[in-house]
């Protein structure tokens, strides 16, 4: 039993592997996560020394491998036991309904169960109730009916205490005044971390979310992407058990989106403090990539209520962007039993009748024909298919 490798050790191994193979940034972030898991001020001190070197090293980061390893050895020296909180239900919502405008719009009924370590993507067109559902789960607005219950590790004492545990990040985050570092320290000190540890932990979080070079800046001097990173750093300092994010990827460039999504995934799956995370977004591909489950909302109703899943789940549906005409597509795909070709002005959504047709078969047929493709994707399992009318 003693030889059994812990999740922390696995994480450290991952960090070393990534750094060694040249994925420095990923290895570095995993190293910081591992260090944060120790919750040890001495480890933080040593790690921050490495952070300072890493952040100021302009040349090839591979040169820092030795220092990286020495930092790893310090992190390793602190035993972090497995907590096994992942998979525990933290939020249960049953038949949640919200009626607006005297019943002209009704959200739900929605039944939802959030578990620690799971990421839930919430998709749907604008005005279909994504933000409403998030704010109901965050207990920010009243629901018309239904039950929402929470199971936190430490029971809440009152309603305000409950709110301190529910972290909701709106699409337009609040304005913050003063420096990044002061705001983070201010957030952390309220959660019981004072003195030197406050200073160290804030710096650790600053490093973790790539804000090292901007720590002395004011919030107003940060770009949108860094404002979101700041918001995540502020959130994570509160050690939340549930995080609800409304359009966190809006206004971010593609690179920032990828980094944020990756960070969200790493944070949610943390073995020490796994978080139930639910976020809404219009970036379907990215949402589906990191989510354990995707909830699609149309007119306030979830996809399961719309009956969309069961009806279409076995048929092939592809999304295609091409300069060729509709006739060319029909010609190339004439051997398959095409049910419907729909063009929304940008891309074609093609549905096939026959369950046996696979994406690879269609792909090879297109590859052999004289056909130009800008983009093609199998959306049979994706909620993207629901955006077709």
């Amino acid at each position: 039993m003693e030889d059994k490798i812990t999740k922390q050790e696995l994480l450290i191994e991952q960090a070393v592997t990534y750094f060694k193979q040249g994925d420095h940034s990923l290895g570095y972030r995993i190293l910081l996560d591992a260090a944060l898991h120790t919750d040890d001020p001495n480890v933080f001190k040593e790690t921050l020394e490495f952070v300072d070197v890493y952040e100021n090293h302009e040349k090839d980061k591979s040169e820092l491998y030795e220092k990286f390893l020495s930092c790893i050895s310090i992190i390793k020296s602190v035993h972090v036991p497995d907590k096994n909180h992942i998979g525990q239900t933290i939020l249960k919502g049953e038949s949640i309904e919200k009626r607006y405008n005297r019943g002209k719009f009704t959200l739900g009924p929605i039944t939802i169960e959030l578990k620690r370590g799971d990421i839930y993507g919430l998709v749907g067109e604008n005005g279909n109730g994504k933000t409403t559902l998030l704010t109901i789960l965050a207990s920010l607005i009243k629901k018309s009916s239904g039950i929402v219950s929470y199971s936190f590790l430490n029971p809440t004492t009152d309603l305000y205490d409950l709110k301190t545990k529910l972290v909701y990040i709106p699409q337009r985050t609040s304005k913050w005044y003063g420096s990044v570092i002061d705001n983070l320290k201010f957030a952390l000190v309220h959660h019981g971390v004072t003195g030197e540890k406050n200073e160290l932990l804030v710096h650790m979080m600053i490093a973790r979310f790539g804000l090292w070079k901007y720590k002395e800046l004011k919030w107003s001097e940060l770009s949108s992407g860094y404002k979101m990173r700041f918001e995540l750093a502020r959130t994570m300092l509160r050690k939340p058990e549930i995080v609800l994010l409304d359009e966190p990827l809006a206004n971010l460039d593609i690179l920032a989106q990828q980094v944020i999504l990756e960070d969200l995934k790493m944070l949610a799956k943390s073995h020490v403090n796994p978080i139930a995370m639910i976020f809404s977004s219009q970036q379907l591909y990215e949402v589906e990539k990191i989510s354990d489950e995707v909830i699609y909302l149309r007119n306030g109703k979830p996809s399961d209520l719309l009956g969309l899943k069961t009806e279409e789940q076995n048929k092939l549906i592809i999304e295609l962007d091409t300069e060729n005409s509709r006739e060319d597509i029909e010609k190339v795909l004439q051997e398959f039993n095409v049910e419907q070709i729909e063009f929304n002005g940008g891309v074609y959504i093609i549905s096939f009748k026959d369950d046996s047709i696979s994406f690879n078969t269609v792909l090879s047929t297109i590859a052999l024909s004289n056909f130009t493709i800008q983009y093609i994707r199998d959306i049979s399992k994706s909620t993207r298919r629901f955006f077709v009318y």
Partner: protein, 597 residues
């Protein structure tokens, strides 16, 4: 800057509330400001003239630009502070807060406001410190006594020298009734008792028998009045006709016919205390004794010395005057047993026509001997006239004695100026009585501001604006209700109706705020209600006590132990009520904040 950063770092990492409220810096700023105001007060006084500028020490702050500077600095500093204070809001962001944290925040706000609006105390402390460094009370007290002694000769106002002012010897002071009409004699003077006639006028001197009046009030015919007139107004009541003080039975008559000459204005009547600061009854007795001894001696040299020593005192205090002992002694009129001749002007007579007018009053009679030749005096009447006068040795001339008016070269004046202010301010400095009115006012201002900013921080600007509108609407409704009630329901006085309706309105707001918090009404409605309630609670409590006071009879009010206690500690009681209500509501505001919209 490094130290400031270091302190800020320490505070944010250990005491976020203190860091957020900038308590340390605001207190430090207040300390510097108080020191500044202390120094300003200190240097504003250089000599006795500076101390004489204002009637009281409070006026040195409130009647000078100091109050504007203080207010301006307070407003600017508090506005700058507010910008920083409102930047970080742990409560709004649902950071973990201890249950008493909001109330603690309110207390800090109160401390910040109070420390930044109380420059008045430092300024006056600066002034009093400087006064103490310039003077000792023993010296000033001695000078006050000198001035009071010399007041006898200042001849400021004829009315001070009438017998009504006489306070010595026993049985003076006495009430006086006089008439020159035989017809009114029985109505004004109790002829069955001692009285006298002097220079065509009848006089009677007496004391009022207050004990007898009290007995009558308590026992007999005045019983009905007693129930309506409060004790402190009884004197005023019988002056206004409830009791007939001309009723001779209330007179204790004294025979003072020995003093009948003093019915004319005379220095022997003068008893007034010029400056009473720090002077007690022993001082008064000593002074009156001094007057009597000095006047009885009729020693002009001694009087001259007294006048000269006063003139040197006047020089010390730079009192404007043109007095000379010769003219002054003449006005004191030793020869005619101090009968009042005319006054010494209280300020310099500048205008020529006035000088001419007044000059006629300031003269002495001078005897001259003219040598008149008798050679041409043949008329029998002349012969008879000149026969009265002695002749020269050759018998040709008569030595005629004449009385001529010799006018004073100047109209005498003595300008005491603001010496009264000076003595009062020095006395207050050495015998300070704390300015509770200013303290109460500043505490109230700080409390209102603290509640307002506390609500702003916890509930937001929207709530504050809507609460202000709601307060305005309630006030108008209240006035309307009072107006209608006064007009159509005449069951009580307008004061009582106003109080009652205000109490009912206040109580309704408080009750609704409680119901809204318990029943979880709409968030914005609830916040408006509890915002109004925080201001209404102390007001309604005060009005309720006033209403209770009004409901009691006058005499009961004075004997009611609660009202007596309230008179002494009412402000602290109401302040405590306000603070306790903030404490209770702060807990509810914490819950309210977490309600879903």
């Amino acid at each position: 800057m490094k130290t400031i950063k270091k302190i800020n770092k320490y505070l944010i990492e250990h005491y976020p509330l203190i860091w957020n409220t900038r308590l340390v810096w605001m207190l430090a700023f207040a300390l510097v400001l108080h020191l500044g105001f202390f120094i300003a007060g200190f240097v504003s006084i250089k000599n006795h003239k500076d101390i004489s500028v204002h009637y009281s020490l409070e006026q040195f702050y409130y009647d000078t630009p100091a109050v504007f500077v203080g207010t301006l600095i307070s407003i600017i500093s508090l506005l700058i502070w507010l910008i920083f204070y409102l930047q970080n809001n742990a409560f709004k962001n649902f950071y973990k807060l201890r249950s008493g944290s909001l109330f603690l925040q309110f207390c800090i706000l109160f401390i910040i406001f109070f420390s930044n609006v109380t420059h008045y105390f430092s300024y006056t402390s600066g002034i009093t410190t400087k006064i103490k460094s310039l003077y000792t009370w023993e010296n000033i007290d001695a000078d006050i006594k000198k001035f009071n002694n010399a007041a006898l000769f200042l001849l400021e106002n004829k009315s001070n020298y009438t017998i009504k002012n006489k306070e010595y010897p026993d049985p003076f002071p006495l009430e006086m009734e006089s008439t020159s009409s035989e017809r009114f004699l029985p109505r004004k003077i109790d002829t069955s008792k001692s009285y006298f006639r002097y220079e065509g006028k009848y006089y009677q001197f007496y004391k009022i028998n207050h004990e007898l009046i009290q007995q009558d009030i308590k026992q007999e015919r005045l019983e009905s009045i007693v129930t309506e007139v409060p004790e402190e107004m009884e004197e005023e009541a019988y002056e206004e006709g409830y009791y007939d003080i001309t009723d001779f039975k209330y007179r204790i008559v004294y025979d003072v016919s020995n003093f009948k000459k003093l019915t004319r204005p005379n220095l022997r009547n003068f008893s007034k205390e010029l400056y009473n600061y720090g002077q007690d009854s022993v001082d008064t007795q000593n002074r009156l004794k001094y007057y009597k001894t000095l006047l009885d001696k009729k020693d002009t040299d001694l009087l001259k010395n007294e006048l000269e020593s006063f003139l040197s005192l006047a020089k010390k205090y730079t009192l404007k005057n043109n007095l000379n002992t010769r003219d002054w002694l003449h006005l004191i009129n030793v020869g005619n047993d101090y009968e009042f001749i005319t006054d010494i002007k209280s300020r310099e007579v500048v205008r020529d026509y006035k000088k001419e007018e007044f000059k006629q009053d300031y003269f002495r009679w001078k005897t001259t001997i003219d040598t008149v030749s008798l050679a041409n005096k043949t008329h029998p009447k002349d012969k008879i006239f000149f026969s009265k006068f002695p002749r020269t040795s050759d018998g040709k001339f008569a030595l005629v004695k004449r009385q001529k008016k010799e006018f004073f070269s100047e109209i005498p004046f003595l300008q005491l100026g603001n010496l009264d202010y000076f003595f009062k301010n020095v006395y207050t400095t050495f015998h300070p009585s704390f300015n509770y009115a200013a303290l109460y006012f500043l505490i109230s201002v700080s409390l209102v501001l603290a509640i307002l900013i506390f609500l702003f921080k916890t509930t937001g600007i929207k709530n504050i604006l809507l609460s202000a509108v709601a307060a305005g609407v309630i006030l108008i409704l209240l006035l309307l209700l009072i107006f209608i009630s006064e007009r159509y329901f005449k069951f009580a006085t307008s004061k009582e109706i106003g109080l009652l309706i205000s109490i009912i309105t206040g109580a309704t707001v408080i009750l609704l705020s409680i119901v809204s918090l318990v029943r979880k009404w709409k968030k914005i409605i609830t916040s408006i209600l509890f915002s109004l309630a925080l201001f209404t609670i102390p007001l309604t409590t005060t009005l309720t006590i006033f209403f209770y006071r009004n409901s009691l009879r006058h005499l009961e009010r004075n004997s009611n132990s609660f009202l007596i206690w309230f008179e002494d500690y009412g402000f602290w009681f109401i302040t405590s009520v306000a603070i306790i209500s903030v404490f209770i509501y702060a807990k509810q505001i914490r819950n309210w904040k977490s309600w879903p919209q």
